[in-house]
């Protein structure tokens, strides 16, 4: 399936974007929303993400990573850039309450999202903070180094551990299986 999408994308076939949107649109929107904290701006960033994917699809190299990772990084970087503009501040002021309302509503309707944040919250702080900073606040490793005084090498090692924890969760369960996620949490706490 991924090969077919890549072929369509590199042929500049709009169908590729249609498939990518259906497959990954919601996941990307969720990540973007967590970074920008503004529903209206998140919508713009999501549009921008797919537009960039379509424009740059011909340069995508499957040997260097998965299609979703490529898309996710476009989305995250776009979202992070959006938060660093004055434009963002404008949206943040006008959209915070609405976004908060929608985000809560959306998450409440999506059982897959339940508990995941809690998994992250349950991690050792030195790992959790990396996930928080990188995934939800859009920090670069350099910025974390400067702000927290943690050497880049340590950040990379801790990030590896944090992702390994996630891998162990998803290796044992489907992404939306809350019960197994909670089981992971219990196992995780038991090791502490």
């Amino acid at each position: 399936m991924e090969e077919k999408i890549i072929q369509l994308l590199q042929n500049q076939d709009k169908e590729a974007v249609s498939i990518l949107y259906d497959k990954y649109g919601a996941a990307l929107f969720g990540v973007i929303l967590k970074v920008v904290h503004s529903r209206e701006l998140a919508e713009q960033v999501l549009q921008d993400t797919f537009l960039k994917a379509w424009r740059n699809g011909i340069q995508y190299d499957a040997q260097k990573g998965r299609l979703f990772t490529w898309l996710l990084n476009i989305a995250r970087n776009s979202a992070i850039d959006a938060t660093r503009t004055n434009y963002y501040k404008f949206y943040q002021k006008s959209d915070n309450l609405e976004t908060l309302y929608h985000a809560q509503s959306d998450n409440a309707l999506n059982p897959d999202t339940l508990g995941v944040r809690q998994i992250v919250q349950g991690m050792d702080e030195k790992y959790r903070i990396l996930i928080e900073k990188i995934y939800f606040e859009g920090y670069t490793q350099q910025e974390i180094e400067q702000e927290m005084g943690i050497p880049i090498g340590t950040i990379k090692t801790r990030l590896r551990f944090a992702i390994n924890e996630l891998r162990s969760v998803f290796a044992d369960t489907n992404a939306g299986n809350l019960g197994l996620i909670l089981l992971f949490l219990e196992n995780y706490y038991s090791r502490l």
């Binding site: 990540v31 960033v45 424009r55 970087n77 776009s78 999202t113 990030l159 996630l166």
Partner: protein
């Protein structure tokens, strides 16, 4: 860097999050091209991150997909070219800030231009209106002054009204003209009512017969309206006023052609 150290370095995780610098990125891509185990490891990391992202999915608005697809139209392709050798996994924060700023700037400038242009148009219109009103006021003022002078002239005890009547009874018995002559100022005004309209090649002309001079003196060519017109100056005591029909522009020889109306002072 040996394979094991590389796998434990966290570089692959950083790479998958787009957080490598160019040197690290080159190292990772070299290792990827050389070791299957590295490719598998990256695949596993990316799968975990994908699953992690999927658990945070929030449905975008329903209209969003249509808008995204509309944006793919060739007409909406970017004016800013993309870098030919752009990395597969983007390190740069390539959010289209420039287009955002330019867009917002264009809207602001457009709005400012529209507003200022609009204001300029409004001001111009107002100025034109004021100018027209001023001209109208001047005209009205002149008219008022003229009317006041005429009223003062008519009401002056030294002013005598002479009714100039049609000579041929039964033709235009109702047609009259009035000449208001002031013996002190030697000025006169003339007004006519209900005088039959002449062919376009003819005009009515006013004449005055001064005491002691049998030849009528030509005065105004009358306008075909109801306003009072100042009568041209003449010297002497007026005994009668007459109106004749003349070729267009008035008598050409200083003598009336056909006298049709007469009024004795």
């Amino acid at each position: 860097m040996d394979l094991q150290s590389f796998l434990q370095s966290g570089l692959l995780e950083s790479y998958s999050l787009g957080q490598c610098d160019p040197t690290e990125k080159a190292t990772v891509e070299l290792m990827l091209s050389q070791h299957e185990v590295v490719r598998t490891e990256l695949e596993n990391i990316e799968t975990a991150l994908e699953q992690f992202a999927q658990t945070q999915a929030v449905a975008p608005p329903e209209w969003m997909k249509g808008r995204v697809m509309d944006m793919l139209d060739p007409m909406s392709k970017p004016s800013l070219p993309t870098t030919p050798n752009a990395p597969n996994i983007p390190n740069g924060r390539d959010f289209n800030l420039l287009s955002l700023i330019l867009g917002a700037g264009a809207i602001v400038l457009g709005t400012m231009f529209f507003n200022s242009n609009n204001k300029a148009k409004i001001l111009k219109n107002e100025a034109e209106k004021a100018k027209t009103q001023l001209i109208d006021c001047e005209k009205q003022k002149n008219t008022n002054q003229s009317l006041q002078q005429q009223i003062a002239h008519i009401n002056d005890p030294a002013t005598q009204k002479t009714l100039v009547k049609w000579l041929e009874s039964g033709v235009n018995t109702e047609a009259t003209a009035s000449v208001y002559f002031n013996s002190k100022t030697q000025k006169a005004f003339v007004g006519q009512t209900q005088i039959p309209t002449l062919p376009t090649n003819q005009d009515y002309q006013l004449w005055v017969i001064v005491e002691g001079n049998p030849n009528p003196k030509p005065l105004n060519v009358l306008k075909n309206d109801d306003t009072l017109a100042a009568v041209n100056n003449f010297v002497g005591k007026a005994q009668a006023f007459a109106i004749s029909i003349e070729p267009k522009g008035g008598s050409i020889n200083g003598k009336p052609t056909t006298v049709v109306m007469l009024g004795k002072v």
